[in-house]
C-alpha cells in the first residue's frame, strides 16, 4: 500500500532546472536506492517525496494518497505524510536524551504512555542502543547517533523510510556495519525504503533495485544491482559504478584499431552506427602477459599495493588502469617495471557508442 509513485515531476531553483519530467515507481516493501553524483538532484527528489520541497510540475503519491500535485496545488505537509526520515548529519536533537529522541514521534501521535514506553524501548533495542536510553547525543559516537536517528525514524512504523546519505559521515568500518544493519532491519520490518547515496558500494550492497541518476538529474537506468552492474545501459552508468577504463576503437581502411594508430582490434565490434566506439572495462578485467595475444601496451607506472598490483598502461595513446592479484603476478613473472612492454587482454568488456561517453567521466 505504500508504493511511491512519482509522475512527471519537475523542480526548478530560479532559472536552474534540477529535475525535469521525472517518472519513478517504488513498489511497496522494496529497498530502492537512487544513486548519483553529488549535486545531481537526488536529494531534491527525496525532499520532494518527504514534503520539504514543492514540485513545479507533476504529481507524487504515497499509496492511495496524492501528497503533492503541482496541477491543483495539493501539498500535504511532511508531518502528515507518515514517513520516517534519516538525515546525512543525523539531526539528533542535542537537548533530548536517546529515549526522548526516539519517543518524540510517538508523543506527537499521542500514543498512550504505556504503549509509548514499550515501543520506544523496542526501537532502542532494535538498533542496539539498550542501556544508553538516558544519554545525551553529545555522549554518543557518530555511529550511535545515527542509530538513534534510525530508531526515531522507525519507531512510529512509517509506511516509507527515507534515507539521505545516512552513512556519509561515518568511518569505513562503521559504514559497512550500518549498511548490513539497515538492510536486515528493512527485511524484518518490511518497510519501503527510499535510499539516496553517491556511494555505489552501498547502493549495490543494500538494494532490491537501483536507479542511476546523472549530473543533470536524468535517470539513466533502473534495475537490480546485478543488472546495472553487468548490463550497464550506457557509459555513464558503467563509469559511475566503479573504476572504469574506456578504450577508443576506431574504424579505418584496414579494419578496427585502438586510437589513431594503436594496435589493431581483431574482433569486429557490433554495429552501433558509429565509426568510433568505446570498449569499457574494469581494471580487474585486464589480463596482462609479457607476450603473445592481446593489445600491445607500455607500462607507465607500476605500484605495489599489497594484495594488488596497480598498473597504468599506455595502449595506443590511451592510459588504462589494470589491477592484478600480486600473488599471480609473482608466480607468473608479471611484475612489470615502468617502461616495459606488455600485452593487454580483456576478460570482459562492454561496447559504448561515442556519444554516450561524453558525460560518463
Amino acid at each position: 500500500m505504500a508504493d511511491v509513485r512519482i509522475q512527471g515531476v519537475a523542480k526548478r531553483y530560479g532559472d536552474r532546472a534540477v529535475l525535469a519530467d521525472l517518472d519513478l515507481v517504488i513498489p511497496d516493501g522494496e529497498c530502492f536506492t537512487l544513486l548519483g553524483p553529488s549535486g545531481c538532484g537526488k536529494t531534491v527528489l527525496l525532499r520532494l517525496v518527504a514534503g520539504f520541497e514543492t514540485p513545479a510540475a507533476g504529481r507524487i503519491s504515497l499509496g492511495e494518497v496524492i501528497v503533492a500535485d503541482a496541477a491543483d496545488g495539493t501539498m500535504v505537509p511532511p508531518n502528515e505524510r507518515g514517513i520516517g526520515m534519516v538525515f546525512q548529519d543525523y539531526a539528533v536533537w542535542p537537548h533530548m536524551t536517546v529515549a526522548d529522541n526516539v519517543a518524540y514521534p510517538l508523543k506527537l501521535a499521542r500514543v498512550p504512555v504505556e504503549d509509548l514506553r514499550r515501543r520506544t524501548q523496542a526501537a532502542v533495542e532494535m538498533v542496539g542502543l539498550k542501556g544508553m536510553e538516558t544519554r545525551l547525543p553529545s555522549e554518543l559516537s557518530g555511529g550511535q547517533q545515527q542509530r538513534v536517528a534510525l530508531a526515531r525514524a522507525l519507531v512510529s512504523e512509517p509506511r516509507l523510510l527515507l534515507l539521505d546519505e545516512p552513512l556519509n559521515n561515518l568511518d569505513a568500518n562503521l559504514r559497512e556495519e550500518m549498511r548490513f544493519e539497515i538492510k536486515s532491519l528493512q527485511k524484518t520490518l518490511g518497510v519501503t525504503v527510499f535510499y539516496v547515496t553517491h556511494d555505489q558500494e552501498i547502493a549495490l550492497g543494500i538494494s532490491d533495485r537501483v536507479a542511476v541518476m546523472d549530473a543533470k538529474g536524468r535517470l539513466r537506468q533502473i534495475g537490480t544491482p546485478e543488472e546495472i552492474y553487468e548490463r550497464p545501459a550506457d557509459a555513464f552508468v558503467f563509469g559511475f559504478l566503479g573504476l572504469a577504463n574506456f578504450l577508443p576503437v576506431r574504424r579505418d581502411a584496414s579494419g578496427w584499431r585502438v586510437g589513431a594508430d594503436g594496435p589493431a582490434w581483431t574482433e569486429a565490434p557490433p554495429d552501433l552506427g558509429d565509426e568510433t566506439l568505446f570498449a569499457g572495462f574494469r581494471p580487474s578485467d585486464v589480463i596482462l602477459s609479457r607476450e603473445g595475444e592481446g593489445l600491445a601496451g607500455t607500462v607507465i607506472r607500476a605500484s605495489f599495493l599489497g594484495a594488488m598490483m596497480d598498473y597504468l598502461i599506455d595502449v595506443g595513446g590511451t592510459s588504462i588502469r589494470a589491477a592484478l592479484n600480486s600473488h599471480d603476478c609473482l608466480d607468473k613473472g608479471l611484475m612489470f617495471a615502468e617502461g616495459e612492454a606488455c600485452r593487454v587482454g580483456l576478460a570482459a568488456f562492454h561496447w559504448f557508442p561515442h556519444t554516450s561517453l561524453e558525460d560518463a567521466q
Binding site: A50, G51, F52, T54, V65, I66, V67, G73, T74, M75, V76, P77, P78, N79, E80, I83, G84, M85, F87, Q88, D89, A91, V92, W93, P94, H95, Y104, P105, L108, A109, A149, R152, A153, S156, L162
Partner: protein, 565 residues
C-alpha cells in the same frame, strides 16, 4: 486526503513574520535615523548640502570634530599598545598567574567608564583632586602633578576602559594560532625575533586591527568620560556637543540642526569603521586555523618574570582598584574634600540614597524597570528578526538583512537624537519626558546585541533538526516549540543579560532623554556630580558598581550551570 494544505497559508505565516520584523526595525531604528538625515540635509523643503558644510565650519562644531578625531586616535593608539602587550604577556610568556591576570584584564569591560572618570576626577582634578592635593601638601608643589581635565587625561582614562577590545581579540588569536607555523619557521633557521616579526605579527595583525577599530568606534561615539572630564576645560567631542546643543538650547531649530549634522557625521564614521573592520576580518580569515587550543611556544621571561608580574599588578591596582576604592570611600564621606579618617566616614550616605531620597530611589527603580523591559522586549524582537534572517526563505528578506545591520552602526547619542525627533509629538505621538521614550531608545540601542546573540544561537540549529521534527509528525509550531526554542534559549538568555546589565548603567542615551522624574542611575550619578553633590554621586556610583558586579557574577554562574546541564 482532504487535509491538503495549500502553499498560500504557509507563505502567509512567513510574510507575517517578515512584515513584523521589518516593522520593528523601521519604527525603532530606521525612522529615527532617517529623520536625522532628513533634518540635516533638508532645509526649508529643499536638499541642501552647502548648509551642512556651513554648520560643520562653525567654530564649535569644527572643534568638536577635531576633538573627536584627536581623542579617538589617541585612545586607539594607546589602547592598542596596552592591549597587545598584555595579550602577548598572558598568552606567550611564562608570566606567573597568567590565568588570573587574564580575567583581571577583562574587568574594565564590566565597569562603566564614566564612573571611572568620576573617580579620576576626584583623584586628579587640578585643584581638589586627592592625589594632586597630597603632592601639593606634602611636597609643597605649587601646581597639580597631573591635570586630568586635558586631552591626555581623557585619553588615559578611556584607554583604561577600552583596551580590552584589543586584548580579547589578540589574546584569542594568539591562543588559536597553530604553533607549527612558528615551529616550522624555527626549523628553517629563524630566530625568535625574526619569527615574531615575520610570522607572528603578520598573523595576528588582523586581530590587532579589528580590535583597534572597535576601540576607535567606541571612543568616537563615547559620551561619559568626555562629559565628566572635558566639559570643564571646554573639550567637547561629537556626542557631548550634541548633548550640549539639545540639552541647553531646549530644542531650538538651529541647535537641533547642528545636532543632526553632527549625528550624521557620527553615523557615517561609524559605518565606515565597521565596514573597514569587516574587511580586515575577512582578509584575515586565512589565518584562523580551527578553533582548537594548541600549546603555543612560550617565551621565558627569566629575570623579567617578577618585575613584569609586579608591573601587571601595579597596572590593575592603579586602573581598577584605586578608582573603585575611591568611589566607595568618597561615597562614605560626610563632606566632600575631608580627609579619609574614621570620624569623617559614615554609611548614612548609602542608606539615604537607597531608602530615603526620592530622586535616587526613582533613578534606581527607573533603571531596573527600564532595563528589564528593554531586555525582554529586545530579546523577543531579536529572536523573531534573527529567525527570519537566518532560517526563513522568504522574498523580501534582503530589506530585513539591510535593516538588521543598522543597529550595529548607530551610536547611542544618534539614537537619542533620532528618538527625540520621532517621538516628540511632531508625528502624533509625544513621549518626551516620559520613561517610554527612553525605553524606545534602549530597544534601538541594544537591538544589535540581541540580533548578534540570537542569530549566533540560531545558526547552531541546523535545518535538518527542524526537518527531522517535521518528518516525525510535528507541525511547524510544534517543531518550533520542541526543537528550535529549547536550542535557542541559551542565546535568548544571553541576549537578555547582554542588554539588562549595560542598560542598568546606561548614560549616553538617557542623559539626552531624561525628564524631571525619569532619571536613570547613570543620569543621576552624572547630574549629581555636575551639581556638586560629589559625595552622593559617588555613593550612588558605588551602589551601581555593586549591582553590576553582582549581576555579572550571577550570569557567569548561570551560564556555567547551563552549559553543564
Amino acid at each position: 486526503m482532504t487535509a491538503a494544505v495549500n502553499r498560500g497559508s504557509r507563505v502567509g505565516t512567513s510574510q507575517i513574520l517578515l512584515g513584523l520584523s521589518i516593522a520593528i526595525l523601521v519604527i525603532v531604528v530606521a525612522v529615527p535615523v532617517l529623520l536625522i538625515f532628513l533634518n540635516a540635509f533638508w532645509v526649508d523643503g529643499a536638499f541642501n548640502v552647502a548648509d551642512v558644510v556651513k554648520v560643520l565650519r562653525e567654530p564649535d562644531t569644527y572643534q568638536a570634530l577635531v576633538n573627536s578625531l584627536i581623542l579617538a586616535s589617541g585612545v586607539t593608539v594607546t589602547g592598542t599598545i596596552v592591549g597587545t602587550f598584555f595579550a602577548w604577556l598572558v598568552t606567550r610568556t611564562d608570566l606567573p598567574f597568567k590565568g588570573t591576570m587574564k580575567v583581571l584584564f577583562l574587568v574594565p569591560f564590566m565597569l562603566p567608564s564614566f564612573i571611572g572618570a568620576l573617580a579620576w576626577k576626584m583623584l586628579l582634578s587640578p585643584r581638589s583632586g586627592y592625589i594632586n592635593r597630597m603632592f601639593m601638601d606634602v611636597f609643597g608643589l605649587d601646581g597639580p602633578v597631573f591635570d586630568i581635565y586635558t586631552y591626555g587625561g581623557i585619553i588615559l582614562v578611556e584607554t583604561m576602559y577600552l583596551f580590552p577590545f584589543v586584548f580579547i581579540q589578540v589574546a584569542g588569536a594568539l591562543e588559536r594560532m597553530d604553533p607549527t607555523l612558528e615551529e616550522s619557521a624555527r626549523i628553517s633557521g629563524a630566530n625568535l625575533f625574526t619569527i615574531t616579526r615575520r610570522i607572528t605579527i603578520p598573523l595576528v595583525m588582523p586581530s590587532i586591527l579589528s580590535g583597534s577599530l572597535l576601540i576607535m568606534l567606541y571612543s568616537m561615539a563615547h559620551f561619559g568620560t568626555v562629559a565628566v572630564l572635558g566639559i570643564e576645560a571646554g573639550i567637547y567631542n561629537i556626542p557631548t556637543l550634541i548633548y550640549e546643543k539639545i540639552h541647553q538650547s531646549a530644542g531650538s531649530f538651529a541647535s537641533i540642526r547642528t545636532g543632526t549634522v553632527l549625528a550624521t557625521v557620527l553615523v557615517i564614521t561609524a559605518a565606515f569603521i565597521l565596514w573597514l573592520q569587516n574587511r580586515v576580518l575577512s582578509r584575515g580569515k586565512y589565518q584562523i586555523i580551527a578553533g582548537k587550543s594548541f600549546r603555543p611556544t612560550q617565551l621565558k621571561l627569566r629575570g623579567l618574570r617578577v618585575p613584569l608580574l609586579l608591573f601587571c599588578i601595579a597596572y590593575i591596582g592603579f586602573t581598577i582598584v584605586l578608582p573603585t576604592a575611591t568611589i566607595f570611600m568618597v561615597g562614605a564621606l560626610k563632606t566632600y574634600g575631608l580627609p579619609f579618617t574614621a570620624e569623617n566616614m559614615t554609611f548614612y550616605n548609602y542608606k539615604f540614597i537607597l531608602f530615603e531620597w526620592q530622586l535616587t530611589k526613582d533613578a534606581i527603580w527607573n533603571s531596573i524597570s527600564l532595563g528589564l523591559a528593554a531586555a525582554a522586549i529586545t530579546m523577543f524582537a531579536g529572536v523573531i528578526i534573527s529567525y527570519v534572517i537566518v532560517k526563513m526563505k522568504v522574498r523580501g528578506k534582503g530589506i530585513l538583512e539591510f535593516l538588521g545591520m543598522l543597529p550595529f552602526s548607530v551610536p547611542g547619542s544618534v539614537i537619542a537624537l533620532g528618538v527625540i525627533l520621532a517621538w516628540s509629538g511632531k508625528y502624533g505621538v509625544n513621549l518626551y519626558n516620559t520613561v517610554w521614550i527612553i525605553l524606545v531608545a534602549y530597544i534601538a540601542r541594544y537591538m544589535a546585541f540581541s540580533l548578534k546573540a540570537n542569530s549566533a544561537a540560531l545558526e547552531q540549529v541546523h535545518d535538518s533538526l527542524v526537518e527531522a521534527a517535521r518528518a516525525s509528525g510535528a507541525t511547524m509550531w510544534q517543531a518550533l516549540r520542541d526543537v528550535v526554542v529549547p536550542l535557542v534559549r541559551p542565546g535568548m538568555v544571553a541576549a537578555f543579560f547582554l542588554i539588562f546589565l549595560p542598560a542598568l548603567r546606561e548614560l549616553t542615551v538617557s542623559v539626552m532623554l531624561y525628564g524631571p522624574t525619569t532619571r536613570t542611575i547613570g543620569v543621576a550619578i552624572y547630574t549629581l556630580s555636575e551639581d556638586g553633590e560629589t559625595v552622593y554621586s559617588a555613593a550612588l556610583a558605588g551602589i551601581a558598581l555593586v549591582i553590576i558586579v553582582f549581576g555579572e557574577s550571577v550570569i557567569k554562574r548561570l551560564f556555567k550551570v547551563g552549559r553543564k546541564g
